[in-house]
């Protein structure tokens, strides 16, 4: 199934035009978590805000399937 990994932040909404072929919504959520870690690392390294950034994963019809906030991937305790 094709899942679209759109990124919403305070200032923009980046649309994923290509999508990623994955076997399930759970696989898509796990991919989002791994990607968010990679992106959060870059953002922190360059002293940028993460607050509010999230993946909004949609299907081919544009329906929102799951939201993965970037701040959820940071382990603080």
């Amino acid at each position: 199934m094709l899942f679209y990994f759109n990124v919403r932040s305070d200032r923009s909404y980046d649309v994923d035009e290509e999508g990623i072929e994955l076997p399930s919504l759970d696989a898509a959520r796990r991919e989002a978590i791994k990607s968010a870690r990679e992106m959060v690392a870059e953002l922190i390294l360059h002293n940028q805000r993460i607050d509010g950034m999230r993946f909004e994963i949609t299907d081919g019809t544009g329906a929102l399937l799951v939201t993965v906030p970037f701040k959820d991937v940071i382990i603080l305790d």
Binding site: F5, D14, V15, D16, E18, E38, E42
Partner: protein, 246 residues
């Protein structure tokens, strides 16, 4: 085959005599996207001289981890170790953007290099320039942001094609840059936001070349100048497109 009909920079830089050693054994070859030129640790049959298209030399591990080590087009030849007749490389080498060119059997290449001390010179220069490119890829990966690395990579592709339109998927870019697929979406949008490119499904259009060079900052340019220093200024033919750079 007439040397002036090849766009490959290595072949064009050879003297008539040196080219004559290779000519009888060169055959034309089509190299579509994903055409495999070399598999890791697998016996190599040919040395390739692209006239067009873009290929990637990738470092791979048996567990599937891969990343692009270097890029080549009509400015070079692959696999580089074949110049001494070596028959294996640890790399995966395949075409990214379709092209065509020439190839010669590895043993014929080795025999030719044994018959001429000058034949090897442009090959060895190119191997050095390729090593410089790889070393600056390492620097870019260590010190520059994802969107700058992407800008650099787009510039390097743009150097190797004769159009502003690159036909390549986001999935493949992620694979080559060693980043996760969704990061490509965001990085492309940053470049679009600066009006440097336009990105659609399956294509990237270079809109502002100079802007991309500024954005890539020092991560792009040095290997290209090294190529010009060692292998540039060979062509004065008006019918050849501006030479691509390494």
């Amino acid at each position: 085959m007439d040397i002036s009909r090849s766009s490959n920079r290595i072949l064009r830089s050879l003297s008539e005599a040196d080219f004559g050693l290779l000519k009888p054994f060169l055959e034309e070859v089509e190299m579509p996207s994903r055409y495999q030129i070399a598999l890791p640790d697998t016996l190599l049959e040919h040395v390739y001289f692209p006239d067009s298209g873009i290929g990637a030399v990738m470092s791979v591990l048996s567990d599937g981890k891969k990343a692009e080590a270097g890029m080549f087009g009509s400015e070079g030849f692959v696999p580089t170790s074949t110049i001494i007749g070596d028959r294996v490389v640890p790399y995966l080498i395949e075409m990214q953007v379709a092209g065509r060119g020439y190839r010669i059997p590895v043993d014929k290449m080795r025999e030719a290099t044994e018959q001429s001390t000058t034949l090897q010179v442009p090959f060895i220069k190119y191997m050095h320039v390729f090593a410089v490119q790889v070393s600056y890829t390492a620097l870019a990966n260590a010190k520059f942001r994802v969107e700058q690395r992407l800008a650099r990579w787009i510039l390097m592709c743009h150097d190797r094609v004769t159009t502003d339109v690159l036909v390549i998927t986001h999935e493949y870019i992620a694979f080559l840059l060693g980043i996760r697929r969704p990061s490509v979406t965001t990085a492309l949008h940053v470049l679009e936001g600066h009006k440097l490119i336009r990105s659609n499904r399956g294509t990237i259009i270079v809109v502002n070349r100079l802007g991309l060079e500024c954005f890539a900052a020092g991560s792009y340019g040095l290997p290209e100048r090294e190529f010009d220093r060692l292998l540039g200024a060979n062509d004065s033919d008006a019918d050849v497109a501006p030479p691509p750079k390494t």
